[in-house]
Symmetry: C2
Subunit: 382 residues, 2 copies
């Protein structure tokens, strides 16, 4: 097992009706004027924004707001948020939404404390030295952003989708109320399942140090996601299923499953970021296309672990059976497994492979994900 | 799933040689004069204390010291530490040892900030309002105290063994270096395995709300403890096994596995605290005697979960087979499974049952653990 430092300071306030406590959390942390960020107007129509407003007002907290964050969140919106946070001199930022809103808020929080352009923080031109305190009310469980210090933003001019990871970006408090996720569409529920499984398998299959304890924790997450997704597709009102789905999602990317492992990288995210930066497909949908193809391409390099996956997750014998079972499960729940489902043609693979190589450079796995490798994987996924 | 708040602010600095970083951690948190607490002189003989001293001196941190903490740590020693912390005006306390040293340090940290007698905090006469910052270097993995806010201390006058749980008692930084645990005796290794399994099963079997995800996390811990204990008994130099054992131990009692569960209580600890308060047997050894007896007595109340345990942990069919497999495993690794192994005679059961009832009152499960119940369980364990 590798040496590691585990520190996750985020408070997760988990459960039914907990959004009403957000004002209290903000007040306890000294916030007086807050920037509230959200995606579509749905949060206003369904009453959540009103709940937030009431909770802030009860604590005498004023706020300004920024809506319109989209999935695969955009740099232009982040820049807008940074400008607003600076001009309004807010002392905290609150995300009301899913992972895209959270990631935008993290970037805004860092950008608001930075003199230069916020994108410079993403491309490593300048370090994040501090950030405004970050709070969130999560409405979609998938990215794990509510309990980690990462943010992924797309620069729509350069078609780059880049991540920023630094301790200043841990949310102070995240409210996770599974009931708020009931209105998530069937499509986004299954894309989310794909996303959580992707977070779980990246290290599981690629790490050079991957102890059994961590394997078991990861398998616990994957089995829970498969089980609860099926329960939710059968009954959207199954609170216990949705709560486990959400808590498993948080645990998949809060540092726990990677603690003590080493040498892992993020091939599926590398490839998917290239796809969704170009085609703007939902991240989880992109991942369910990439994963089976990547697994078929990669399994020979770590056959024992793929065989373990087949056995522990699906009760099957061979690596290939496990991969096929995962692909079949994606098909069954209705998340895409082929590039053709995005209308991406073979003639576009060459340009896409170039983009994958570029993303592989950012992810630090360019040695493995050459243009030739990218083309092979895309061809399997066609 | 129940509502819950998850917040664990402790930084765990995990791995080989990490004790040398303790001075840095203390300095970063502003400590200038520290009380260092330990158990036997072994930490001096084996060089660990010297490492600590060098690390503190490098940061210009001075210290005073208190040795002699014993397992089932005693109130008199805690009172001694509180007096020393006050007279020396230390600004942090550092535990160098196992769970008993850590628990003593937590009590000292709270007592040092309290006007009255520290035992009043344990019996609920006064709340813990603050505590000195707590640091630790763990030398035995078992109690989980390195990443939680609990402390258990025995009042040797009243023969009470009581716990105190409050957020002020989270360690700021805990160093967990598996190499420092290599000198733990064979006996204490297997007692520790028993202790970790006990932490894992209390909620697993007694909770009224116990979702599958949490079940899987708990089973991951138990399976890891069983696997790595066997590996360590075979090869004491197996670092990977010891590291997983240690990290599983931390996860068993840092709040994760209880998050979202409800209605659980601590029957095995209730009974064992009564035993070790009276007979001063090692906590883990007491627990390996209590667990199989309690499981035989209790399983009918939650047969499905005991059947699940048998299947998931041992690959067996029935609840009773699972219980017998655990008892046989305790026998195999050499931790006691019978009260007679402590020379506790049936004639002493009556007094012991009275003490169990008293402890059940403190643990809040006196409705179930009546004198009659206590006598039944003791008789199974005889």
């Amino acid at each position: 097992m590798e040496n590691f430092i585990f520190h996750n300071p985020t408070t997760v306030d988990f459960g039914s009706e907990r959004q009403h406590a957000i004002g209290e959390h903000l007040a306890k942390n000294g916030a007086k004027h807050v920037l509230v960020v959200y995606g579509s107007d749905r949060v206003k129509r369904d009453g959540l924004f009103g709940d937030v407003q009431a909770s802030l007002e009860k604590q005498g907290i004023t706020f300004c707001e920024l809506g319109g964050v989209v999935s695969n969140p955009l740099l232009t919106k982040v820049r807008e948020g940074v400008a607003l946070a600076k001009s309004e001199k807010v002392d905290a930022v609150l995300a009301v939404g899913g992972g895209s809103v959270l990631d935008s808020v993290k970037a805004i929080a860092a950008g608001a404390k930075f003199e230069g352009d916020v994108w410079d923080l993403f491309i490593g031109k300048a370090p994040v030295e501090s950030a405004l305190p970050i709070f969130s009310i999560l409405t979609l469980a998938a990215t794990g952003s509510e309990m980690n210090c990462g943010s992924v933003v797309t620069n729509e001019e350069t078609k780059e989708k880049l991540g920023l990871n630094t301790p200043a970006l841990f949310p102070t408090v995240s409210v996770v109320n599974p009931d708020l996720m009931k209105t998530v569409s069937r499509d986004y529920l299954v894309y989310s399942a794909s996303d959580i499984i992707a977070h779980s398998i990246e290290g599981y299959f690629t790490a050079t140090v991957q102890p059994n304890f961590q394997n078991r924790l990861i398998e616990s997450i994957i089995k829970t996601v498969i089980e609860t997704t099926e329960q939710l597709l059968e009954d959207n009102d199954n609170y216990t299923a949705r709560a486990q789905f959400a808590w498993a999602s948080t645990q998949a990317l809060n540092g726990l499953i990677y603690s003590g492992t080493a040498g892992f990288n993020y091939p599926n995210h590398t490839i998917e970021h290239a796809i969704s930066a170009e085609y703007n497909v939902p991240h989880g949908a992109g991942l369910s296309v990439v994963m089976p193809a990547w697994m078929k391409w990669y399994h020979g390099r770590n056959e024992a672990q793929f065989t373990r996956f087949a056995k522990e997750v699906f009760g099957l014998e061979t690596a290939l059976e496990g991969i096929e079972a995962l692909e079949a499960w994606f098909d069954k729940i209705g998340t895409p497994t082929r590039l053709s489902q995005f209308d991406i043609q073979q003639s576009e693979f060459d340009a896409l492979a170039d983009s994958i190589v570029k993303h592989a450079n950012w992810f630090g796995n360019a040695d493995t994900y050459t243009k030739q490798a990218a083309l092979e994987i895309l061809t399997i996924a066609k």
